[in-house]
C-alpha cells in the first residue's frame, strides 16, 4: 500500500502537476485567442474595458455579493473557497510533496488554523450541495459533473481532516491512499472542468461582454426584447 502512496506522491504527482499547469495555460491561450477572433469578427468593437475591469475585481473580492439575494449561499461559497485554497496550498504535508518533486517550497500556515478553515469549508460545501439538490433554480442548471466535483472535493476535505485527527477511526494509510489518489484525480480534472475558473475568471466578464457586441447594440436589443424598453443598460 505504501508503494501506491509513493507512486502517487512521486511520478504521478509530477504527471498531474504538469497536466494542471500546462492544461490551464492551454485553456487561457485558447480563451484569449478565441476572444481575439471574436473581437476581429464583431461588428461593434467599442468594448467598455474600464467597466469590465471593475466588474472582474468585484468578483475577486465578493464583499458586495453578501448583500445579494442569497446571503447564505454567498457565505457558504466564500467559506468553501477560502478553505479549499488555503488548506490546499498552505498545508505542510502538501508543500512537502511539492518540494520533493519540484524543489520549491513556501511558508506553511499553522495546522489548527487550517483545521478550522477546513471545517468551515466542509460546512460550506455541504450547504452548497444542499442548495444544488433542493433549490429548483440551481438544480435545473446543474449537470452531473457539478455534483461529481462537489462531492469529490467534499470527500477529499473530510478524509484529509479526519486523517490528521487523533480520534481517526480508519487506518491512516487507507485514508491517505484515498485522499492522495483522489487529490491527484482532481488536479488532473481541473483544467478540463469548470474548476478551470480558478485561472479563467478574469476573462469570463471580458468574453461575455464580447458576445454582446457581436452585432452593434446587440446587448441592449436583447434586453429590450426580454424586459421592454426600461431594461437596464449592459
Amino acid at each position: 500500500m505504501t508503494d501506491w502512496l509513493e507512486i502517487a506522491q512521486g511520478p504521478i504527482f509530477r504527471f498531474a502537476l504538469a497536466i494542471f499547469v500546462l492544461g490551464l495555460a492551454r485553456q487561457v491561450g485558447l480563451t484569449v485567442s478565441g476572444a481575439l477572433t471574436a473581437i476581429r469578427r464583431a461588428k461593434d468593437r467599442r468594448l467598455p474595458y474600464r467597466e469590465i475591469a471593475k466588474e472582474t475585481l468585484s468578483w475577486i473580492f465578493p464583499i458586495r455579493a453578501l448583500r445579494r439575494a442569497r446571503p447564505l449561499q454567498s457565505v457558504a461559497s466564500f467559506a468553501f473557497h477560502i478553505g479549499v485554497i488555503l488548506a490546499g496550498l498552505f498545508l505542510r504535508n502538501h508543500i512537502d510533496i511539492f518540494q520533493s518533486n519540484v524543489g520549491i517550497a513556501w511558508i506553511a500556515l499553522p495546522r489548527p488554523l487550517l483545521d478550522c478553515l477546513t471545517l468551515l469549508a466542509i460546512a460550506g460545501a455541504t450547504i452548497l450541495l444542499l442548495y444544488r439538490v433542493y433549490s429548483l433554480s440551481v438544480r435545473t442548471l446543474s449537470t452531473a459533473m457539478d455534483y461529481i466535483l462537489l462531492v469529490m472535493i467534499l470527500g477529499l476535505m473530510i478524509s484529509g481532516y479526519i486523517a490528521g485527527q487523533s480520534w481517526n477511526p480508519i487506518p491512516y494509510n487507507t485514508l491517505m491512499l484515498f485522499h492522495t489518489w483522489g487529490g491527484i484525480l482532481l488536479v488532473i480534472l481541473i483544467p478540463f472542468t469548470k474548476i478551470a475558473h480558478c485561472v479563467l475568471f478574469p476573462l469570463t466578464r471580458f468574453c461575455t461582454e464580447i458576445a454582446w457586441h457581436l452585432t452593434p447594440e446587440g446587448g441592449s436589443e436583447v434586453i429590450h426584447t426580454l424586459y421592454g424598453s426600461d431594461g437596464r443598460k449592459v
Partner: protein, 608 residues
C-alpha cells in the same frame, strides 16, 4: 482523405516533439552527466552516431540530385530537386541542433570561426557544416521567395539574384558536401586502436563519401514514397527506378571498396570468427548493402514500388547502422563503462527528427516544393469568405486537439522519465576513507556509521592454515599491490565508493619506456587495452599468482562493489565447502553493533 492522413501523421509528430521538448529542457537544466549515458569514456554516443553522422549522410541527396540536374543536365530529375535540397537543408538544421545538445559547452560553438586550427579535422567539419548550411539555405530560398507572401520588389530582386547564382551555388554545394562527407570519415582515422579493425579503415573518408551518395539517393526515394502516400501524389515510377539504378551502382562500388579494403588489410576472414562484431559487420553489410544492391540491380524489382521501397529501407538503415557502428557500437571501451543511450537521449533524437518532419510538412504544404502548378488555383479558391471561415474552424479544431495531445505527452514524459533524469541527480563522487582498527578493522568508507566489523586477524589466521605458502596468504585478498608495497589496503586503489577510478597512468608509463616507440613493450598485437600484459611482467611482486586479478586492469571498481564481490564470492565458496549456509548472507557482516568503542573515539577525534 489525403488531408486526414497528413493530419494524423502531424498529430503523431507533435506528440513526439513534445516528448523531446521535455527531454531537451532537462538536458540543458541538469547537464549531460545527469541526463545521458555519456561519460568521459564514451563522450560520443547515440546523438553523434544517429543524429549527426546519419543526418549528414541522409542529406547527401541534396548535392547528388543537384549535380545530376545542373552538372550532368539530367533534366528529367528536376521534379525531385526541390524536395531533395529541402531535405538536405532540414537535415543539416537537425544536425546542428543535435550537436548543440551534445556539446558540453554549446555556447562555444562559434569558436572555430575565430580560433583557427588547420591541423584539426574537426576544424574542417565545423567550417563545412557552417558553409554548406548557408549554401543550402540560399539554394532553397527561391522556393520560399516565389510565394505570393513575398511580393515586395526587394524580395523579387533577391529572387532574381539567387536564380542567377544557382550554378555557382550548386558547384559550391557539391564541393562543400564532398569535403564534409569525407571529413566526417577522416575524424575516425584518429582512433585506430579504439575502433574495431573491421570498421577502422585508412580509406574511411572514401567509404563515408561513397556510402553517403547511396544513402542520399535512397533517402530521396523514400521521401517520394512518403509524400506520395501523404498527399496522394502520383509516384514518379520512372524517375525513382532511375535513381534506384544509380544507387545500385554506387552500392556495388561501396561494397567493392569495403571488401577490397578488408582483403588488402588481410582481414577478410575476420567477420566469420564468431565474435559479435563479426555478426554485426555481416548484418550491416549484408542486409544493409548487399541485398539492396542485388535487388536494385534487377530491373523488374526496382520498377515495382514494393521492391524499390524495401531496398530503400534496407539500404538507409544499413548505412545509418554503419555510422552508429563506427562512432559508438564498434568502439572498444572498458567493461565497467558500458554505454547504452539513456531515455532522454532517445527522446531528444526522436523529438528533433519529428520537429524537422513537421517543418518539412509545413514547407511542402505552403510552398511549391513538388512543382505542382495547381497550387495557385488552390490559393484562389480559399479566398472566398465561406472557405475562410471553414478553414478557421478546421484550424481551431487542430489547435484544440494538438494542444491537448501536447499537454498530455509533456505530462506523461515528466512522469515516466526515470527520477534520476527528472531530478538531475548524478552519482556524486564519494571519496573513500581508510578502514580503521587493528585485529578488528572497522570498514566504513564514507563514514556514515553503517560499516562492517571485519575480523582481519581471524581471516589472516584462517588463510595461513589453508595456504600452502605462508608468504602468499595475504595475496588471496590483497590481489594487487602498489609497486614496492605488500598488501596495499583496498581503499588506496578503490578510491570512490561507487564509481570506477583510474589506477594506471598511461602517459607516465609511455614516457618512462621511451615515448612513441614503447607500445610493444606492453601491448602484444593490437594496441588496445585488452592486449596489454599484466603488471607483473615488470613489477614482479605487484600481483600474486594466488590472486584472481593477474590480468592488466586500469580501472578500479567502486569500493562497495569491489568489497562485496571480494568478500561474498569467497564466503559463497566457503559456505558450500564448510556447509555453513548463512555465511554469504547480508547479516553475517552487516550487523547492528556499529564501530568498536575504541574506533569510535578515534573517529570522533579525527572528525570533530
Amino acid at each position: 482523405m489525403s488531408q486526414r492522413k497528413a493530419t494524423i501523421v502531424k498529430d503523431f509528430l507533435w506528440a513526439c516533439t513534445a516528448a523531446g521538448f521535455v527531454a531537451i529542457i532537462l538536458r540543458f537544466a541538469y547537464g549531460l552527466g545527469a541526463t545521458t549515458g555519456l561519460s568521459d569514456t564514451t563522450p560520443w554516443g547515440f546523438w553523434i552516431g544517429f543524429d549527426l553522422l546519419g543526418g549528414v549522410a541522409l542529406a547527401a541527396g541534396g548535392f547528388t540530385i543537384a549535380a545530376a540536374v545542373y552538372i550532368f543536365h539530367l533534366e528529367s530529375y528536376r521534379p525531385l530537386l526541390r524536395s531533395a535540397i529541402l531535405t538536405a537543408f532540414l537535415g543539416y538544421l537537425s544536425v546542428i541542433f543535435a550537436l548543440l545538445c551534445d556539446l558540453g559547452l554549446p555556447w562555444h560553438i562559434w569558436k572555430p570561426m575565430v580560433n583557427w586550427q588547420p591541423h584539426s579535422v574537426m576544424f574542417e567539419v565545423a567550417w563545412c557544416v557552417m558553409l554548406y548550411t548557408t549554401v543550402l539555405s540560399l539554394e532553397f530560398a527561391p522556393v520560399v521567395l516565389e510565394h505570393p507572401w513575398f511580393r515586395l520588389p526587394i524580395f523579387r530582386a533577391v529572387l532574381t539574384l539567387l536564380k542567377r547564382l544557382t550554378l555557382p551555388l550548386v558547384i559550391l554545394g557539391i564541393a562543400l558536401s564532398t569535403l564534409h562527407q569525407s571529413s566526417l570519415g577522416s575524424l575516425f582515422l584518429i582512433v585506430p586502436y579504439r575502433l574495431h579493425p573491421l570498421w577502422y579503415s585508412p580509406i574511411q573518408p572514401i567509404l563515408f563519401f561513397v556510402s553517403a551518395v547511396a544513402l542520399g539517393l535512397l533517402t530521396v526515394t523514400l521521401e517520394a514514397f512518403v509524400s506520395a502516400y501523404l498527399y496522394d501524389h502520383e509516384l514518379p515510377h520512372g524517375l525513382l527506378a532511375g535513381l534506384g539504378k544509380v544507387a545500385a551502382i554506387v552500392l556495388w562500388v561501396y561494397l567493392a571498396l569495403r571488401i577490397g579494403d578488408l582483403i588488402f588489410r588481410k582481414l577478410i576472414l575476420a567477420p566469420f570468427n564468431g565474435s559479435w562484431q563479426g555478426v554485426l559487420f555481416l548484418i550491416e553489410l549484408g542486409l544493409g548493402a548487399l541485398i539492396p544492391a542485388i535487388l536494385l540491380s534487377i530491373p523488374r524489382v526496382r520498377r515495382s514500388p514494393i521492391g524499390l521501397g524495401t531496398s530503400a529501407i534496407l539500404g538507409v538503415s544499413g548505412i545509418i547502422l554503419n555510422r552508429l557502428s563506427v562512432s559508438v557500437i564498434a568502439q572498444y571501451r572498458p567493461p565497467e563503462t558500458a554505454y547504452f543511450p539513456s531515455l532522454s537521449e532517445l527522446l531528444i533524437s526522436l523529438g528533433v527528427l519529428s520537429a524537422i518532419g513537421l517543418v518539412f510538412l509545413f514547407i511542402v504544404e505552403t510552398f511549391n516544393v513538388f512543382g505542382a502548378p495547381e497550387k495557385h488555383e488552390l490559393d484562389q479558391s480559399v479566398s472566398s469568405p465561406v472557405s475562410y471561415a471553414f478553414q478557421d474552424d478546421l484550424w481551431r479544431n487542430h489547435i484544440l486537439r494538438r494542444s491537448f495531445v501536447v499537454v498530455l505527452v509533456i505530462a506523461a514524459t515528466f512522469a515516466l522519465l526515470p527520477s534520476q533524469i527528472v531530478e538531475g541527480r548524478m552519482m556524486p563522487s564519494t571519496e573513500v576513507r581508510s578502514a580503521v582498527g587493528g585485529d578488528i578493522l572497522w570498514i566504513d568508507g564514507n563514514r556514515n556509521e553503517e560499516g562492517v566489523r571485519f575480523e582481519h586477524q581471524k581471516h589472516i589466521e584462517r588463510q595461513r592454515q589453508q595456504a600452502t605458502n605462508e608468504e602468499t596468504a595475504c595475496a588471496v585478498c590483497h590481489h594487487l599491490s602498489k609497486p614496492g608495497d605488500q598488501a596495499t589496503p583496498c581503499w588506496e586503489c578503490h578510491r570512490d565508493m561507487y564509481l570506477p577510478t583510474s589506477i594506471f597512468d598511461h602517459t607516465f608509463h609511455q614516457q618512462a619506456l621511451g615515448g612513441n616507440v614503447s607500445c610493444s613493450e606492453c601491448h602484444i598485437g593490437e594496441h588496445i587495452a585488452d592486449s596489454a600484459v599484466g603488471c607483473n611482467e615488470c613489477h614482479e611482486t605487484m600481483a600474486s599468482k594466488e590472486s584472481t586479478t593477474v590480468k592488466f586492469n586500469y580501472a578500479a571498481r567502486g569500493y562497495v562493489d569491489a568489497l562485496h564481490d571480494q568478500c561474498v564470492s569467497c564466503h559463497k565458496r566457503e559456505a558450500t565447502a564448510q556447509n555453513k549456509e548463512n555465511l554469504p548472507r547480508c547479516p553475517t557482516c552487516h550487523r547492528a553493533e556499529g564501530a568498536p568503542p575504541g574506533v569510535r573515539r578515534l573517529l570522533s577525534l579525527s572528525n570533530p
